[in-house]
């Protein structure tokens, strides 16, 4: 790190590589999905890069790097659980749904095909691939050259529009 602070790019690259190797098992123990570990590792590396001036090279490097890693991990978990809460079903709503046939669905993809066609082109294509052709979000992302999270976001938005269309 001391060498990288003086602008030695090779030393810096090797430091970041080693840091990434340190962080992966640390994060893998705390997160469930490999893509989350990758995303967060990248975020932590960016934070280390932004905060590198706060490290003087005179004290141990690992506690400094782990302090940033823990900080970003907590940020991530806070956002994750907040998101889970936002999408959590209300018990009152569940009570309305439960007496109905919860194991059968009134809608197949074919029955809402017409509504799907009314969506913007990209959203419709994503829903078709995910629900008619059975691709996962990751596979769809690879096929249409988008980021996996962007595909999930687009699908989520499409569901919201569809719900409105079907409720009319």
């Amino acid at each position: 790190m001391q060498r990288s602070l003086t602008g030695d790019q090779r030393a810096y690259a090797s430091l970041l590589q080693e840091t990434a190797c340190l962080l992966r098992p640390f994060l893998a123990r705390r997160l469930s999905f490999a893509n989350e570990v990758d995303d967060l590792t990248q975020e932590i590396l960016i934070s280390i890069h932004k905060a590198r001036h706060t490290y003087d090279g005179l004290r141990p490097y690992k506690p400094w790097a782990y302090a940033i890693a823990k900080f970003r991990l907590h940020d991530f978990l806070r956002a994750y659980y907040a998101d889970q809460l936002r999408h959590a079903e209300d018990f009152d709503e569940l009570e309305e749904i439960l007496p109905e046939h919860v194991t059968e669905t009134a809608f197949g993809y074919e029955s809402i095909h017409n509504e799907v066609q009314k969506l913007p082109e990209k959203q419709a294509a994503i829903l078709q691939m995910m629900h008619r052709d059975g691709y996962t979000a990751k596979e769809v992302a690879e096929k249409i050259g988008m980021n996996e999270s962007a595909v999930k976001v687009a699908a989520h938005r499409a569901y919201k529009v569809l719900r409105k269309l079907l409720e009319r």
Binding site: L5, L16, S47, R52, H53, R59, P63, W64, A67, F71
Partner: protein, 211 residues
Amino acid sequence: MENIDALIVTLTKEAQAVKPAPHPFRLSLTWLVLAAIYLALSLALFGFRPDILAQFHRPWFAAEFAALVCVLFTTSLSAALLSFPDLHQIRRWAFAPLAAFALLLVVLGFAWLADNPPAPLPVHGFECTLSIAFFSLLPAVWTLLVMRHFASTHAPWAGSVALLFAFSVGALWLRVYEVTDSIVHLVEWHYLPMLGIGIFGLWLGTKILKW
């Protein structure tokens, strides 16, 4: 993993030589020197209370002043440490303000007991809090602005301690400027508002020290 490799290449290309941040002791000392200059200028402008020398001969005034100076020193040190992600690996110093506030509390307790017969209450009240808050604005702004250049991983605490540092500059100034000896007034309008400022700082820290 490919994405991480690509990111490392990008970050490496961006990496230029950087000047390491100053040691937190040095940072704290800088803030204290600035606070001393600010206090000196203000006192030169507004003047001391007329009985200042006599007051320093009163043991509880001197003890209260010393405790307030301790609060100033420790909050400045703690704010400097909290600006670093790892608290510069001298974590225990960040808790120093707790000891200083405990000392101030004890001193105020004894001063309360010694205030017999009680000194008359001044006619004003919240004006003191407002004056301290107004006087503290500049130190608060400069401290928080400097702290933004670092990378605090304890933003709420950092914000709180920074505001307490600034407020203690104001409290110190008012103590040597205003002719008030009523301990009830001091507790109510000089020191209790510190609690509110600390809580406000918790919120402000999350907004200002985000990175």
